[in-house]
Every structure is written in C-alpha cells, then in structure tokens.
Amino acid sequence: MTPGIDTAASNRPLWLRILFAAEATRAALWPERFSPATAWAFLVPAILVVFVLVAGMGYMVDASLRELDRSTFMLSDDYSFANYATVLDRSFYWHIIGRTVAAAVIVTVITLVLAFPYAYAMARTPSAATRKLLLIGLFLPFFIGQVVRAYGWLIVLGQEGLLNSGLAWLGLDAIKLIYTYTGVLIGLVQYMLPFAVLMLAPAVTAVPEEVELASGSLGANWFATLWHVLLPMAKPGLVAAGVVVFTLTITDFAMPEIMGGGTNDFIASAIYDGYFSISEPGLGSALAVLLVLLASTLVAVIFAFVGVGTLGYTKRLER
C-alpha cells in the first residue's frame, strides 16, 4: 500500500460510492472558493417568502391610495388619501381600533400573569411526571385549532352552556358572556396562553434555582425574590412572549368573529368586511396598512424601551 493514497476506493460499498459521486458533482458545480457564500445561500428561500409578502404589501399600499369609483365600481387611477380620511373620519372605525388595541393590552397582561406560574412550575418541578403532564396540557390546545376551540367556548359559556347550567344549579343568575367583549377576551387569553408559556419556559429555566435561594438567604421573601430577581432575569422571555401575544391578538380575526358574533369586531374583521362585505378594497387596504403601522410602531416602541438585547442580540461582555 502506498502511503497517503486511498487504495480502498474500489472496495467501497455502493451507497458510499454514490455519496462520493454526489460530493464530486457538488465540488464541480460549487467549488470550495464559493464556500463563504454557502451560509448566505441558505437564506434565499426565506428571503423569497419575505419578498413575496412585501410585494403583496406594496399592492395593498397602492390600493389603499385609490378611491372607489361608485359609477364603475373600479378603483380610481389617481392617488389620494381619501380612504385614510374615511377611516379616520368615522367614529365607527375609531371604536374598532380602540377596542382592538385595548384587547391586545389586556390579553397580553392577563396571559403573561397566567403563563408565568405555569412556565415556572414546568421549569422547577422535580418530578418528571408532573413536567410531562404540564407539557401535554400545553400542547393539546395546539392540536385543536382556534376555530374549534372558539366553538368549544360557545358550548361552555353559551346561554344554555355548562357555566350557566352550573350557576342555575347553584341558584345563581345566568351570566351573558357569549357575544360580549369579556367573552372575546376569555377566548383570546385561552388561545394565547400556550404560546406565552412556550416562550417563557426557556427564560425561566435559564434562571438558576441557586439564585432564588441566594435571594432568600440574603433576606428577601418570595415576593421580593420574584420582583427583584426572577422577573428581571426572565425579562427576555417576558418581552418576547408579550410581543408575540400582543401582535397575535391585535391581528386576530377568528375569536372576535365567533365569540363576539359581530358585536365586538376587531380591525381584522373590519378589513375583511372592507374587501368582501362592502366591496371597498381601497378602504380595506387602508385599514390593513393602518393595522400594520400600528402594530409595528407599538412593537418598535417596546423594543426601543427594553432593548432588542432581550431577544438575545447582544454582544457578550465576557472576558
């Protein structure tokens, strides 16, 4: 055998020879000197998807600037801010925007308050069985889907539903939750909870238990430990979960449709109506653009306030 020469090549099994042939083809088509570009090449599919979305947004902005011509029911050829003026002029739309933003804020706060103990229990429980149970409880709703869950709520919260039957049995008055704002919020919180827990759990796990014990031994009771140590250290997860819940809520369509039954529309419903009910694509587009602006501005404000560092994009200062 000659040193340095691979004489075993002819003895390779077929699958290895196929692999080597594939590798040789790759080397011919994509030489080593291209390798710095390889990592970037993997970004191409993602960039294409984003590009298509941006192009769609472009069309939407274009449509939002054209007024509907009532004589032809076509969008006008010349640009104006008429659609935006209409939106901002009608108190009807202001109500919807206000209702949506308020819901996003309330749902975000309530969801984080409920999700934190859940994530904490999942991270800290010493029992593997308990952790599994909590995980199943977390993922089960994902398998069901939002629409089915909303109908589930109708069964539970409806006029003749489980809740009111229970109240009647206890001799109490029935509560009207279906087709109310409260009903929509309950449905949304339940929908958002798993997302929030999923994003909080790693953040809580990243806080060593020793740090909590240390805080206790230094004189802090459990609330002081939560406030001064646990929450600040879990901040990245709280911000990430908050942003996700906030944006999902502010853009939500199904929950206000089903649980609100048309009485508590969000912006997304108004956009849908703009396109399909009143057939004013210009107006719908204007609303859509306003929603995007509103959501991105609020998220930008949050990040400006707490820093993008909470998403993990910090330069580490380790020595």
């Binding site: 060593p208 020793e210 240390a214 206790g216 230094l218 004189g219 001064h228 901040k235 380790e318 020595r319």
Partner: protein, 362 residues
C-alpha cells in the same frame, strides 16, 4: 453560636445525613469535608433553612430555627456557582441584602463601599457581574454574603470551579476576610487541602455520618478510622492480622512481617483482620540490603513507577513480602536524595509510630 443536635435528613428511604451533632463557636472556621454524597451539602442546606431536618434540632444563637424561613435567619451564604445577580452591578449585589433587611437608606452606600474595600474591589462597584473576572466575582459573592454582618457565614464549595492557583489565593483571601470580621463560618468542601489550609476545625463526613471532628493537624495525625486516614492525605493500606492490641499499641502480621503500630483497638481485635495504614510521605527508601536511618521496619521492594513532580518524586513499589502489596511513596526532598530507577531493588522502611492499625468491622 450554632449547634446541631442529632440532625437527621431522610429522602424517602435514603438517609442523607444521620445523627449529625456539632457546635460552632464565635469566630471559628469549621470545614465539613467529605466526598460527594457524604451528606455535607445536606447539612449546610438545613442550617441555611432551604430544607428541614427529619429529626434533631438546629440552634442559632441558642434559638431553635426549624420554623424560621431562610430570609429570617441571620446567615450569609456563598453558593457553589456564586448565584450573583447578573442584572445588577457589583455594588447592587452587595446592597441587595441591606435593602432586603431594612438597613437605613443613608447607611447602605457607606456599607457597600466598606465591603468593596474589604474584598479589595475598590472602585469596581459600578461594574456589571459579567464584566468581572472569576476571582473578582468570588469577592463580590463573599462581600454580598457578609455586608449585613450575619451571625454565621456558609460556604458551599464556592472555590471548587476555580483553577488551582486562583483557588489557593482565594482560600487565603477568604480566611483573611473571615478573621478580620470574626464571623463564625462553616465551609463545605471535598478538597482535603482546602480543609487543612483554611479551618480551625474539620468535620469529616461519609455516608451521612460524622466520621471525625478534630483540628486539621489531629485529623491528619490521628485519623479516627480507615475512611479518614484514606480521605485526608495519600495513604497505603496493607491487609494484616492483629496479634496483640492494648494501650494504644498493636502488634500485627503483614505478609511475612511482624510489626508494631499505633491503634485505638483493644483486646477484642486480636485475631481479626485489620488495615495497616502508612502515609505515602512516611515510607522511606534506601539501598537494597541496607538499613535506613530512623526506620524501625525494613522491607525489600522493587520500584515499578517513578514520577518526577518537581518538589517531590512519587514512587510506586512492589513489596512481595508484605503480602504482595503495592505502595505509593513520596520523596519530598528529591534534590538531596538519589532518584531511583524503574526495576531497581530497594529497601523500604518506616518508623513504628507512623504505622496506624484500623481493625475491620466484624
């Protein structure tokens, strides 16, 4: 200051600590030394209040503390992984217990400065934790544990993760700070060197039980049993049979040799199997077939391993007449002694009082 009376901790069927009793006086530095799983950390956590004893009482300043949660005990603790608060500065960490324990607002900055100076971090108070080196983080951790002047300081192996040089520096530094403040301290470690260097007193634990409580020199010179003799220092154990035992002396048979040694055993040990223990540095090496100065026992042996470590040479030798035992020997004066070669035939010897006899349990 601190007293443990018959403290026992069980987790289900596992006993982590059994009947642990000791007392600690003002200003004393006590080390609980033991391998992992010996129950030393369990004892420390019970004193800190993170877990409750299954049986027994813990007294702090004469008061039973079973009902007291950690934040109501006057105990400062330095954790294994330090557990500093990364979202605060060094000064913020040191001020934390002062705020939590309701120190007057005006006093806090002065105290923080004082303790920064005590641990030699003057001017580094504004640094974030991740901007400090490993040794500096250790200093912040100890300053944080001491800034509220607790009655008791607990150290849960905080030095274990440091490299050797830094660890040895920090051992002396912790000792200096502890003596300067005169705070009673309990240190937990598996590092026998650390225990000997830092402590006024050492408690050796194994299998959840206290094996020996003694001053470092005494634990080293007069180990209470085979475990302590093996855990502190490097010790050779030779299987032997007890021929006679009385008045702190024992006569044993090791292989083909009869020899005498120190032993706490009495007449009941006669005829039983025992372990004869010889510290690696107490075995002497001489020329084959010749006597060794100061040695009472002489045994022929063959060198099987020679490791030069600079300040000492570590030998392994086979002694066929000692029941075929292999012994480890330290020569702490290699510059003045002949270095042996592998395969060389030598004589090994020891002083009668250096041999310790521990009868095995029946």
């Amino acid at each position: 200051m601190v007293r443990l009376d018959g403290v026992t901790k069980r987790f289900g069927t596992v006993t982590a600590a059994e009947d642990v009793s000791f007392a600690l006086h003002q200003g004393e530095f006590l080390t609980i030394l033991g391998p992992s799983g010996s129950g030393k950390t369990t004892v420390l956590r019970m004193i800190a209040g993170f877990m409750q004893p299954t049986a027994g009482t813990i007294l702090l300043g004469g008061r039973p503390v079973s009902e007291l949660p950690p934040h109501r005990r006057s105990i400062g603790m330095v954790f294994q992984r330090l557990a500093l608060f990364p979202h605060m500065t060094a000064a913020g960490n040191i001020a934390y217990p002062l705020k939590m324990r309701g120190f007057p607002r005006a006093e806090i900055p002065k105290r923080v400065e004082r303790f920064l100076a005590l641990v030699q971090l003057h001017g580094l108070g504004d640094r974030r934790i991740n901007e400090l080196s490993g040794g500096q983080q250790q200093r912040v951790a100890i300053a944080r544990a001491l800034s509220f002047e607790p009655d008791l300081l607990l150290l849960d192996e905080p030095l274990a993760s440091l490299d050797r040089k830094l660890r040895e520096d920090m051992q002396l530094e912790f000792r200096r700070i502890q003596q300067e403040l005169g705070v009673a301290t309990i240190n937990v470690t598996h590092d026998q060197r650390e225990a000997l260097v830092m402590s006024d007193r050492v408690i050796v634990m194994d299998g959840g039980r206290v094996q020996q409580a003694a001053a470092p020199q005494d634990a080293y010179r007069q180990p209470a049993n085979r475990f302590v003799a093996g855990f502190i220092g490097v010790t050779n154990f030779l299987a032997c049979t007890v021929l006679e035992a009385h008045d702190g002396e024992a006569e044993v048979e090791i292989g083909d040799h009869r020899c005498a040694g120190r032993s706490a055993a009495g007449g009941e040990a006669v005829g039983r199997t025992a372990d004869a223990a010889l510290r690696a540095e107490q075995v002497l090496i001489g020329e084959a077939g010749q006597a060794i100065a100061h040695a009472d026992m002489l045994v022929p042996a063959t060198v099987t391993e020679v490791i030069f470590e600079g300040d000492r040479v570590v030998y392994a030798v086979d002694a066929p007449t000692l029941g075929g035992a292999s012994l480890r020997i330290f020569d702490h004066d290699p510059l003045h002694h002949k270095t042996r070669r592998i395969g060389e035939t030598v004589t090994i010897g020891w002083k009668r009082r250096d041999l310790m006899v521990f009868p095995r349990d029946a």
